[in-house]
């Protein structure tokens, strides 16, 4: 991944991510988030994570965000008419943000002397590689995920049916 591609993706990503939290209307926020996720998927492609990129779109952009949009529509959440948060909180957020970015800048300076990337295995990022590892090394988490999803269905149905 070269610098041109990186910045061509990173700058829109950051701008759109800011729009997610800055836009007053939840519908637009959700759509900006979809866009962020889509760009991230493209980003994953450049990081040789093809399967994850597809997943990002299918699961995140295609399913989770549809659910968000559904709830926004069902609850009629229009514009954010709530009062702005207390000043202290706002200030804390901004200060915290600045510190974090500054820290990252520091990190960037330090890391200029990092070691080179490891060589990529033959089938890195392919479905086969992912699948064979997922269903051997990570079999237990995989089964637990199933149970987690079951719990989610039960929980959501119980809650929404009330």
């Amino acid at each position: 991944m070269d610098f041109v591609t990186f910045f061509a993706l990173a700058i829109p990503l950051v701008v759109i991510a800011i729009m997610v939290i800055a836009h007053p209307s939840p519908v637009y926020s959700a759509l900006f988030l979809v866009l962020t996720l889509f760009l991230l998927a493209v980003y994953f492609l450049f990081l040789d994570a093809h399967m994850v990129a597809a997943l990002q779109i299918i699961v995140y952009a295609g399913a989770i965000m549809v659910l968000f949009l559904f709830v926004i529509m069902l609850l009629n959440l229009q514009s954010d008419t709530q009062p702005t948060p207390s000043r202290g909180l706002g200030r804390a957020a901004i200060i915290g943000g600045v510190i974090l970015v500054a820290e990252l800048g520091l990190l960037l300076q330090r890391s200029s002397s990092e070691q080179a990337e490891s060589a990529l295995p033959e089938n890195f990022g392919t479905v086969e590689a992912l699948g064979s590892q997922l269903f051997t090394t990570y079999l237990l988490p995989f089964e637990i995920t199933g149970i987690l999803l079951l719990v989610a269905v039960v929980g959501a149905v119980v809650l929404a049916k009330r």
């Binding site: 889509f38 093809h50 597809a54 779109i57 299918i58 295609g62 549809v66 529509m73 479905v127």
Partner: protein, 363 residues
């Protein structure tokens, strides 16, 4: 550079093919329904007057866009103007880019250069299709919501509930095929279907996965929102559903989107279940009949035959969808949901597990 040009022209070809097929389907739908219903059908757009042959196709392809593009563009009061404008594009673009992964031929050999007749050879081909189809649901949701119209909202919500409900059986039906062929790459799957079972029967997906084919057909028609699954736009119920407040070229985009989806479904059925560009017994150097005869053919002719076979198969499945559309009555919302979740989904899951079991036992 020449590689890029080849890629570019292949992609352009696929996009144009989808667009033109969309227009063609519109005409086939009109004339086809007319044939089915003992009517004459669309016959007004006649450039050359009363010729014995009416250039219906040409006229429809030209006259319809002209008509739709010169209609007034309408945004209702109180609607979200930006989203109302964007929604058709959001719905259409993911569909337009889906078709490029479908291989329409084996290889074309020109000047010693082997060109794979597939615009985008992705190793996650099937997942790409699923991803793009799952994005197109936004067009429906946003179109319905942004119009600020109750009918549109109902249509949008019905539409999104329907599309997400049938995405699961659609995906599961494909898994059966993936299991059978062990690949996500559409070109590879197509090539694998060139084999013969017992020397006679082409190893098409339909032979391995007949249940998956039926599930895929049903779910695919549901995704393209056509009768019997046209609830989101059911004219007699919701006026036009999510595109009630659309006019002119924006409405044309929604209509085109449905046709493109039908073409994608036809293309995928062809590729996954009916051998794609495979012609039975036709290999790269000509026909090898199971009864022993061979017929050598030049490679260009073979390629042409394959592309022709692919096109014919796609057209046939488009036509099949149109015939279904004009034959069956529409589902009701609760029937639709229970068909999707209580019948197709368990069936598809059972099909996947059964396929896996059979593979386990016999290989």
């Amino acid at each position: 550079m020449i590689d890029f040009l080849i890629t570019f022209s292949l992609t352009l070809l696929m996009v144009l093919m989808v667009l033109n097929l969309g227009g063609l389907l519109l005409w086939v739908e009109r004339k086809g329904s007319a044939v089915l219903q003992d009517r004459i059908g669309a016959n007004r757009a006649a450039v050359f007057g009363k010729l014995p042959f009416n250039l219906g196709i040409v006229n429809t392809l030209v006259a319809d866009p002209i008509k739709l593009f010169t209609k007034e563009d309408f945004v209702p009061q109180g609607a979200d103007k930006l989203l109302h404008t964007l929604a058709p594009a959001i719905g259409l673009v993911p569909l337009l880019v889906t078709f490029i992964v479908i291989p329409f031929g084996d290889v074309l050999i020109i000047g010693g250069r082997e060109i794979t007749l597939q615009a985008a050879n992705l190793n996650i081909g099937i997942l790409y299709v699923l991803a793009m189809v799952s994005l197109s649901v936004y067009g429906v949701v946003l179109g319905g919501w942004a119009s600020n119209n109750r009918w549109a909202l109902l249509g949008g919500i019905r539409g999104s509930a329907q599309m997400i409900s049938y995405e699961i059986p659609l995906g599961l039906a494909l898994i059966g095929v993936v299991l059978a062929f062990g690949s996500l790459d559409l070109q590879e799957i197509t090539r694998a279907q060139g084999a013969l079972i017992g020397g006679w029967i082409p190893a098409w997906g339909i032979v391995y996965q007949p249940v998956a084919f039926l599930i895929f057909l049903a779910a695919g028609i549901a995704e393209s929102k056509r009768i019997p699954f046209d609830l989101p736009e059911a004219e007699s119920e919701l006026i036009s559903g999510y595109f009630t407040e659309y006019s002119g070229s924006k409405q044309a985009m929604f209509m085109l989107g449905d046709f493109v989806e039908a073409i994608i479904v036809a293309g995928l059925i062809t590729t996954l279940f009916f051998g794609g560009w495979q012609v039975p017994f036709l290999l790269r150097d000509g026909f090898h009949f199971p009864w022993g005869g061979t017929l050598a053919l030049p490679s260009l002719l073979v390629t042409l035959l394959q592309v022709g076979a692919f096109t014919l198969k796609v057209l046939f499945f488009c036509w099949l969808q149109i015939m279904i559309r004009w034959t069956l009555p529409r589902f009701r919302y609760d029937q639709l949901i229970s068909l999707g979740w209580k019948i197709l989904l368990p069936l598809a899951l059972a099909n996947v597990m059964l396929t896996a079991l059979i593979i386990l036992l016999f290989e």
